[in-house]
């Protein structure tokens, strides 16, 4: 710590930081553009000028750029100094010289960092008499809008896109006042994190194109703290509603989880909530029916029938728990294909009973040697990939510390590091999006990858069993990986369920445990498939195949399916048998799908923005999401549907929750594993009111005036402290309940500065969420002994593996119009040599036979896939009903293709 003097007042500051960071952390307002807490300083915009004085006697001082000046002990600075203030106003005058006169039609207006900073400096009118330079815009895809005239050349976009997110197709072109930020030609931005440009850009050059289609100012949104449901990372988001539809998603800072950034699937996948495929009424036999009749029917089915319940990895803990209580724990089944389910359970066991803890995403960024086993992290858990991209810098930037270059001095550090990267080893069946920063990549079938894992573990600790009959090549790779992990300060092993291989999970655990045994603080992280896979697994439901059997045995006649399209979970034959055998099928879901089409009774379940609940992410952190708006129609949370306040004739005492707090404490009482979820967010009674609407929210007396001029009372929220109004208690909201970031003078998302203890650090009051498992040091564990046999390619029986796509593999985001434009067509990917043996060329059709399902898919020839392995896109129709990995046959359909040519 250092003492620095600000306006002659002594203040304590972190001497490893720059002045801008320190001043903002201490709560001072100082305008800036190019600096970003996650990107560091480059001193490009000259906006954060302050006066620095040599000592107490120095009255003249000199102007310095705060973001480029270390906060050394004894530094004396003045923000208020008239010369510095004039300098800042002059800088902004220069930046605004070519700014187009278009704030009224700019999507950034009202949350524009440039507006805020201009007001802060006091600059108000343009003195430049000559013409404004203009640019033409580019088409950047369905997600982002480009309006280049608004640019102030701060360079943040390219620094984020290229340096931070590893993109290649956005760059700065030309020179002096004609610098242009864009692609070399029109086209969809390739990087999976491009949506962050809308937040990183301090003005309206890059804006959310999905928001533009139903544009609403930030001050008019009714917002709530939420958690992304499109993958298992559990990124914190803030969702905004206007006129009854969900309008947008922005980042909600959580230091431990997502930090400042979101992936494009999470940011733009929200539009499924507004889909015209939404179920908004109770359906009985396919026809809309009244609530009372539907509930009477459900009550009758529950009373007279033998019910089983099928849960869902994309439903909240509360909803799954409600179903489990309704049908009884013995009749509650996981709505996940058995293969995936067994791998998920294995991963959970390894995390619970092993010595290696699961890291938060923030800890992943600070790991300095990483081994990825069998995951394409970018397409499965995108934000983890963004963190991994930073982790490869951990080792090289140590050189900067040795040379006394402060780490915040971004350009100098990057200049020093150049292309040097720390160890990141990726072993996977196919090319991954992180390969460009990997030290070494290895391609093999899942069993081969698991064997590599066991070999690494054996190389680290000879007590770990060795994998027999390894090729010398793999042996050498394993040796190099072991050496890199051994010499690291905090090594990390990542695996997951994508390959559907239990051995792979065990191999990853083996490596992490071997490291732990040698005294390394190794961590182990798994990519779970869906937003609440881990939470569902912690509830210990029975496997799905047992549900199929129960129905066939006749021990059950009614099935209640919670937020789950079963046709994505099992073969068409199995699922159809289940749904046809069952005398009564009840489904709760958001969107119409094949399963709801077969249901006798359908209840409209609220989507994440319309309900409250808790999700458990891949770190096993339970996080609460809150309702942003009361949904239209009869839509309500599944756990509200499944309570005795709605269902008549339920015995007293069962499912007797009324509010969120009731059901959360019921879960905590019933399940010791999930007891900590009570602390995931404060309960309703602990707090006063927290406003969902900003205090400038407009149209209160006019929004519904077309229906009736007599304004209704605002709806009351019985589930949380959040209010559907702009009225708030005097206290700032606790971190888990911050609906949006705003502070006087800071309308943009950069106002998060005002909510952090220290800029870039945790939120005041601690990061939201609570970890469900905390590793104890002395855990009894032992190595797995069974190493899998080597993979043998077989031209009669191919190994078909799922290939994940950030856009398309996830069920809900695929329904969002912007995302659906980016979903690839179904294909079968196979090795070019294999294809030549089959006699198939690229683009020709291949017949894929798995069991009794047959698909004709386009061949995509690749060099990365191991021989005997074929890739099918995960979750993309028509192959979204296959549970992969599977064994199957491939045969060419050449005759059909060439039939016309001849």
């Amino acid at each position: 710590m250092a003492t620095i003097y600000i306006e002659n007042e002594p203040r304590q500051a972190d001497s490893n930081q720059n002045l801008l960071h320190v001043l903002l952390s201490l709560g001072y307002d100082l305008p800036y553009f190019c600096w970003h807490p996650a990107l560091g300083s480059v001193g490009a915009c000259r906006q954060c000028a302050v006066k620095q004085f040599r000592n107490e006697q120095d009255t003249a001082g000199k102007i310095v750029i705060a973001c480029m000046t270390p906060a050394a002990d004894g530094t004396r600075v003045s923000i208020k100094d008239p010369e510095a203030a004039e300098f800042r106003a002059a800088v902004i005058q220069g930046l605004m010289q070519n700014h187009p006169h278009d704030c009224p039609v700019c999507d950034e207006g009202g949350e524009c960092h440039l507006q805020d900073m201009t007001v802060m400096t006091g600059h108000c009118s343009r003195h430049y008499r000559f013409t404004k330079r203009t640019f033409r815009n580019q088409y950047l895809g369905p997600l982002l809008n480009h309006e280049m005239n608004r640019c102030i050349q701060c360079q943040r976009c390219v620094r984020f896109y290229r340096d931070y997110a590893g993109g290649h197709d956005l760059n700065a072109f030309r020179l002096r006042d004609t610098v242009y930020f864009g692609r070399f030609e029109d086209g969809v931005l390739e990087n999976e994190f491009s949506g962050n440009l809308a937040e990183v850009c301090p003005t309206g050059v890059f804006t959310d194109a999905t928001l533009k289609r139903h544009y609403t100012r930030k001050w008019d949104l009714q917002m709530a703290p939420s958690v992304c449901v499109h993958c298992a990372a559990g990124c914190n988001i803030s969702v905004g509603e206007r006129y009854g539809t969900l309008r947008r998603v922005v980042n909600r800072y959580n230091h431990a989880v997502n930090g400042y950034f979101l992936c494009d699937r999470g940011r733009f996948g929200y539009e499924f909530v507004n889909s015209d495929q939404r179920i908004r009424e109770c359906l009985l036999g396919g026809e809309p029916t009244e609530l009372t009749r539907a509930m009477f029917r459900l009550g009758t089915l529950l009373r007279d029938g033998n019910c089983i319940g099928i849960g869902s990895p994309r439903a909240s803990l509360e909803s799954n728990f409600a179903l489990r209580q309704l049908v009884g724990p013995d009749h509650f089944y996981a709505g996940v294909a058995d293969e995936e389910w067994s791998v998920t359970l294995a991963a959970l066991e390894v995390l619970k009973h092993g010595p290696a803890p699961s890291p938060s995403l923030d800890e992943i960024e600070h790991c300095d040697a990483v081994l990825v086993l069998g995951e394409d992290v970018t397409n499965v858990l995108p934000l983890m990939a963004l963190r991994l991209r930073q982790s490869v810098r951990q080792q090289p930037v140590r050189k900067a510390t040795d040379l006394h270059i402060p780490l915040w001095l971004d350009h100098a550090v990057r200049e020093l590091v150049q292309d040097e990267r720390g160890p990141l080893f990726i072993a996977s069946p196919s090319v991954t999006r992180l390969d460009d920063v990997a030290t070494e990549v290895l391609r093999a079938a899942p069993s081969g990858l698991a064997r590599l894992g066991f070999a690494v573990a054996h190389a680290l600790d000879p007590d770990a069993p060795a994998a027999p009959d390894l090729s010398s090549e793999v042996e050498a790779v394993a040796g190099r990986i072991a050496a890199a992990l051994r010499s690291a300060r905090s090594p990390l092993v990542i695996s997951g369920t994508s390959c559907g291989s239990r051995e792979l999970v065990e191999a990853a655990a083996q490596v992490a445990w071997a490291l732990c045994k040698t005294g390394k603080p190794a961590r182990l992280s798994f990519c779970f498939p869906e937003c609440n896979s881990a939470g569902l697994a912690l509830m210990r439901p029975r496997p799905l195949s047992a549900a199929f059997q129960a129905m066939q045995r006749g021990s059950a006649d009614t099935v209640i399916i919670l937020e789950n399209d079963l046709y994505r979970r099992g073969s068409v034959a199995e699922v159809s048998t289940l749904l046809d055998t069952a005398r009564h099928v009840v489904v709760l879901d958001h969107l119409k799908n094949r399963t709801t089409g077969k249901a006798e009774l359908v209840l409209p379940a609220g989507a994440f923005a319309e309900t409250d609940g808790t999700l458990v992410n891949n770190e096993l952190r339970a996080q609460r999401f809150f309702q942003a708006f009361p949904p239209q129609g009869e839509v309500r949370a599944s756990w509200h549907w499944l309570s005795n306040s709605l269902i008549p004739e339920l015995p007293a005492g069962t499912c007797s929750w009324r509010t969120l707090d009731d059901i959360v404490s019921a879960i905590a009482n019933e399940m010791p594993d999930l007891a900590p979820i009570e602390h995931a967010a404060p309960s309703r009674k602990e707090l006063g009111k927290v406003a969902r609407e900003p205090n400038r929210y407009s149209g209160r007396t006019s929004i519904l005036a077309n229906i009736s001029v007599h304004e209704p009372k605002p709806p009351e929220d019985l589930d949380s402290a959040l209010a559907f109004s702009m009225e708030s208690g005097p206290q700032p909201p606790p971190s888990a309940l911050i609906p949006f970031f705003w502070s006087p003078g800071w309308n943009s998302i950069q106002s998060v500065n005002k909510f952090q203890g220290e800029v870039g650090g945790p939120l005041r009051g601690g990061d939201p969420g609570v970890r469900l498992i905390d590793q104890k040091a002395e855990i009894a564990w032992q190595y797995f002994s069974a190493t899998p046999p080597a993979f043998q390619p077989n031209s009669d029986e191919w190994l078909l593996l799922p290939h994940f796509h950030i856009f398309g593999s996830e069920e809900l985001s695929r329904q969002a119009p912007a995302i659906s434009e980016l979903v690839p067509r179904a294909y079968v990917g196979l090795n070019a040599t294999d294809a030549a043996l089959l006699g198939v060329k690229s683009g020709e059709l291949i017949k894929v036979t798995i069991g009794d399902s047959v698909h004709e898919l386009e061949a995509s020839l690749r060099t990365d896939v191991p021989r005997g392995v074929a890739l099918l896109p995960a979750g993309i129709p028509p192959v979204d009903n296959l549970s992969l990995p599977a064994r199957g046959r491939l045969s060419p359909l050449r005759a059909a293709v060439y039939g016309f040519a001849k």
């Binding site: 544009y215 149209g699 007396t701």
Partner: protein
């Protein structure tokens, strides 16, 4: 006694003053052009809708009686999809007119809006939009703003240089 007589005289004198009271509704009062009465939405000199749906009137409104939704035509020109003023709440403060960056929303010298049914005081865009530019005959926001709309490309607004040629090698 004197003061009593003086007061009587003063009152008597007023009998011969010109009348201030106007025989409304037979006789209409003079209202200044800047009188703050019924709110209208105007068109720009080219006949296009002036309102760009920026929401500034709505946010300035102290009684929150304006609600609107922005939308865009195929060329990027923004306009309100609907625009609603609940005149039963309006206090005719004129903040909306002051906030409007395009002179679209204007208050007019007309106050005769009384209704028997309060619901009739809810005005939609069809009730608000007039066919002229109102008090400001010349201003056209789109001629000044640096965004392209139908009929006006980049670089064609007032005071704008031609767009930068990105492929030029000249410095």
């Amino acid at each position: 006694m004197f003061s009593l007589l003086r007061s009587l005289w003063e009152v008597f004198k007023h009998a011969f003053h010109p009348r201030v009271t106007i025989q409304y509704p037979e006789q209409k009062p003079y209202l200044a052009p800047r009188y703050r009465g019924r709110i209208i939405l105007t068109r720009d000199p080219d006949g296009g809708e002036r309102c760009v749906a920026c929401n500034l009137c709505a946010v300035a409104c102290p009684v929150d009686c304006i609600a609107l939704q922005a939308t865009e035509d195929e060329h990027g020109r923004r306009y309100p999809e609907f625009f609603r003023i609940n005149f039963s709440r309006c206090i005719f403060c004129g903040f909306c007119e002051e906030a409007c960056p395009t002179y679209a929303i204007q208050l007019t010298p007309d106050f005769e809006m009384a209704e028997y049914n309060r619901q009739n005081l809810v005005y939609e865009k069809k009730d608000l939009l007039i066919d002229g530019p109102g008090k400001y005959p010349d201003y056209n926001f789109w001629r000044v703003a640096g965004v392209a709309i139908g009929g006006k490309e980049k670089g064609q607004a007032e005071n704008e240089a031609a767009p930068v040629d990105l492929h030029s090698l000249l410095p």
